[in-house]
């Protein structure tokens, strides 16, 4: 059995948090560049240019891409043949705390009632899965709340069908307007249960920007949604043009015969995510 010390995980999470806040991954950078080059709206195009410049400044001068360095969301896939020495939960939270403190990141986590800031950006939200093998994959997705606040979950009746899903997603995206910092990435979780649909929507954001679902009918639906969202003309920051969304990612899971859960998790253009395999 492979052994990994929790102190290694703590250090890795710290480093992921700092890197995520400052260095956009090639997938989102490329999506922004493509959007900039294709954009027909003048102000929208100029703003996309600013966003590309912003990413360069952030990385070069070590200033976070966005001041909202988010709630820490951690996804772990833990190989069944790995033994972790020490307290894993503590290592994850401590890694986030260290990353936010030592990386000069904003601490944005507070008590939901008193609104008192915890001062450490912890607790992070942690999702863990056991998988075959002897590796650990850690994904860090700091989630800003301009976009998170525009997310939603609805339990549609099965009779709503594909058209109901499409209509609902477009309505939500339009209602979000310029609040979530478009161009956005729209994560859709279809099926499962109440909580599964939300989790699928979030997991959909982990896919490289623009990568299609492997299931062909789902990929077709993703493409249709993207086309119809962008045809509405809200555009970059609500200033018009053809780029309201950079991508629609949909994940599906079988659901109850009485149910059609739809989770929509909206992500801003400052799509920060990092991943490491131990």
């Amino acid at each position: 059995m492979r052994e990994i010390d929790s102190s290694v995980i703590r250090q890795v999470v710290r480093d992921l948090a700092i890197a995520a806040a400052h260095d956009l991954e090639p997938d989102i950078l490329e999506a922004l560049l493509v959007a900039r080059d294709r954009e027909t709206g003048e102000l929208a195009g100029n703003i996309l240019e600013v966003l590309v410049t912003n990413a360069n400044i952030a990385s070069r001068d070590r200033i976070p891409v966005c001041q909202d360095t988010g709630t820490g969301i951690l996804f772990l896939e833990i190989g069944q043949e790995v033994h972790i020495r020490g307290d894993l939960q503590e290592a994850l939270q401590e890694g986030v705390r260290l990353g936010y403190e030592e990386g000069y990141l904003r601490k944005s986590v507070c008590d939901p009632l008193t609104r008192k800031n915890t001062g450490t950006n912890t607790p992070a939200v942690v999702h863990m899965e056991l998988v075959p093998g002897d590796r650990i994959t850690i994904r860090f997705l700091p989630k800003g709340c301009g976009s998170e606040n525009m997310s939603s979950l609805v339990m549609l009746p099965p009779a709503a069908g594909t058209e109901g899903v499409v209509g609902h997603v477009i309505d939500r995206v339009l209602a979000a307007g310029s609040n979530p910092c478009p161009p956005m990435i729209v994560g859709v979780g279809l099926g499962g249960s109440f909580e599964k649909a939300a989790l699928l929507a979030k997991k959909a954001l982990l896919r490289p920007v623009g990568e299609k679902n492997r299931r062909e009918d789902v990929a077709v639906l993703e493409e249709r949604l993207l086309r119809e969202i962008n045809a509405q003309g809200q555009g970059v920051h609500g200033f018009g043009g053809i780029t309201t969304a950079l991508a629609v990612h949909m994940e599906v899971f079988p659901c109850h015969i009485a149910s059609l859960p739809v989770g929509i998790n909206i992500q801003c253009h400052a799509h920060r995510h990092k991943e490491i395999v131990l």
Binding site: L43, N46, I47, E49, V50, L51, T53, N54, A55, N56, I57, A58, R60, D61, R62, I63, P64, V65, C66, Q67, D68, T69, Y104, L105, R106, K107, S108, R115, N117, G119, G146, N149, G177, S178, N179, P180, C181, Q232, G233, Q234, G235, H237, G238, F239, G240, C268, H269, A270
Partner: protein
């Protein structure tokens, strides 16, 4: 590496705080470059300012004629003025904003549309609303030359700061004549179909 995107060449340069003449001249959709003094505040600052008003107490700063920027900056690295400092979403301040406008607040700046009540209050009190570039916190950080803590230090990133800004870009959304740039864009894209 290009650090100055082209559209900055076309911005109307204006000083802060706005003079009444400049305020009246701003038009929805206009791009402006702001230089001068502004104040910052977001959710907790608004909650606390309104709590002080409820208690009949003075505010820690006179907001009359000023611009209030909705931002919660990330911490400054040693030797730096400020961290990332882009706008936060404005609608969360909507329930507090009319009271501050009644005190003479001349302008607010954030991102996203305002509710009808805030738009009406802006018209009634002669105030404008601007959008800064959301998600460009590193870029906008460079436009902030001085940051001074004014009040509510214990609120951390939600404290009230005074910023000196230089060539800070923004888009006029709501002007004194009641125009709303987001609504104009939405109407134009509907007509285009």
């Amino acid at each position: 590496m290009k650090t100055e995107p082209a559209f900055f060449e076309n911005l109307l340069e204006v000083s802060l705080p706005f003079t009444p003449e400049v305020l009246a001249s701003l038009k929805a959709g206009q791009l402006v470059s702001l230089s001068g003094t502004l104040y910052t505040g977001r959710d907790q600052t608004h909650r606390r300012l309104c709590a002080l008003l409820d208690e009949g107490k003075d505010l820690p700063v006179d907001l009359a004629g000023q611009l209030l920027y909705y931002v919660g900056p990330s911490p400054a690295r040693p030797g730096r003025v400020i961290g990332a400092a882009g706008p936060t979403t404005s609608y969360r301040m909507d329930s507090y904003t009319p009271r501050l406008l009644a005190l003479g607040l001349a302008a607010t700046m954030g991102k996203g549309a305002r509710c009808a009540e805030v738009r009406q209050a802006m018209l009634a009190h002669g105030a404008v609303y601007l959008a800064a570039i959301g998600g460009a916190g590193a870029f906008l950080s460079k436009c902030i030359k001085k940051a001074e803590l004014v009040a509510f230090a214990d609120a951390g990133p939600e404290a009230l700061f005074r910023f000196e800004v230089e060539k800070f870009p923004a888009v006029v959304i709501n002007d004194l004549e009641g125009r709303d740039y987001y609504a104009l864009v939405a109407a134009a894209s509907r007509c285009g179909k």
